[in-house]
Symmetry: D2
Subunit: 143 residues, 4 copies
């Protein structure tokens, strides 16, 4: 059993498993994990950068790497943990995992690269200084 | 605004909205409500009839009627409420709604007819007396 | 086995079943049927009313009644059939079903009431005459 | 625009986009791509290894890497292409992409590592020789 190695995730979101998340093999289907990550990511930004106007700005996924370590059964209590590990000029990296909230077993790890996209000008956009500062402070990143 | 008329739902499950529940019109897609109802229904039976062996018994939906009263936006806090309103020999009726947990506004009402299905014998099955009693007691139904 | 009673559906859309449509009971989950109906409805309007600007107009579901007649297994070939059966001033009724394309067995029937919603003015809107005519002609309805 | 570099995908599956695949940004949500890949993978094995008893054997995803190159809009015609690029003792690698069927633009590339899982013995299992041969022949792999 792979247990969490560190405790330095500040953002932890309990995830509600739905009946139809479970496929015919009796475990949460692999495609559903990405819905968990997306939901946690949305909550992360709502928490850390509450002033973002999501009518104007979108976060677009460029790359995702996920490692599935252990299956999730219907009755388990799980959480998604999220942290920004790198902020570049236009892109940033997010590290996430899904853990069993009771046993701390890590179910899946995910690394994703994202860019900010300006929905009005229809082009990628640089990271606003205020958000960068808020994230660096929240996740104890060096700017 | 349609507010709840009664307080006689005992089973209330807060529902976590996912990022991709929201469609291009900016509200929770109508097909997603049925995932909410399914999830609440599963929790209802896990609560009221904890001894059911779901490897042997399935609950199969025969009929659904849903009335969509008000749209749900991404940031809202919502709950699904569930109660059994009638138990027949082989079928039973479930009343459910989705409410805004903060304002108590009713977003959607749903009535569904379900049957128990024996997964081993591959046929519908009568309602076991113990479950019937547990449900009637939980929801103050007259047997 | 309930087979189709009439052949007066003009709009028929073959539906592609996805791996994760199937739940732990080994059949297509009931919530997924509504994704099929939504997809067929979208195709219906793209076919019959190709000039609608969906950036300005939304079709909003007000009521859905679905009757589940027979389960759908993973390997089956299925189609969704769609027709408008009534057009009122601001609302209209859609009749849909899911059939096994090979055996013509009816899997599920659905009746839904919908309204047109003006996304710019944020209010329901009357049925434009051109669409009404196009639909009545397509589905041989008397205006 | 990234167009396909080679034509050596033999397995190509047209994918049906559903209304609720599209999120509030007006493009297919990133989590949905994995449903496309899963569906294509299932069809690949049904085609190349038609004798597999999926009541006994599961294909479990161990690792996924996906690169999102271009967004997919609601009306596009897309296909998922699938090939096995490596078969080890217990694991194998799958290369997949999503293309616009009309323009051949590559929308997303995906590399995944999978293992076969014996559902009866509840453990991973070696690749049966017959399947290995069938796959190697289908995708012109050297055994």
């Amino acid at each position: 059993m792979t247990q969490e190695k560190s405790t330095d995730y500040r953002h932890v979101l309990p995830i509600q498993i739905r009946f139809n998340d479970v496929d015919k093999f009796g475990h949460v289907n692999n495609t559903i994990y990405f819905q968990f990550y997306d939901t946690a990511k949305t909550d992360y930004f709502a928490t850390v950068c509450p002033d973002v106007d999501w009518e104007r700005v979108a976060i677009v996924v460029v790359k995702i790497e996920a490692e599935f370590l252990s299956q999730i059964k219907a009755g388990e209590h799980i959480s998604a943990r999220t942290r920004v590990v790198k902020i570049g000029n236009k892109s940033f990296q997010l590290e996430q995992d899904i853990i069993n909230t009771d046993t701390r077993e890590v179910k899946c790890r995910c690394l994703s690269v994202m860019v900010l996209y300006d929905l009005v000008r229809h082009q990628s956009m640089p990271f606003p200084t205020a958000w960068r500062q808020a994230i660096c402070q929240y996740d104890s990143l060096t700017e």
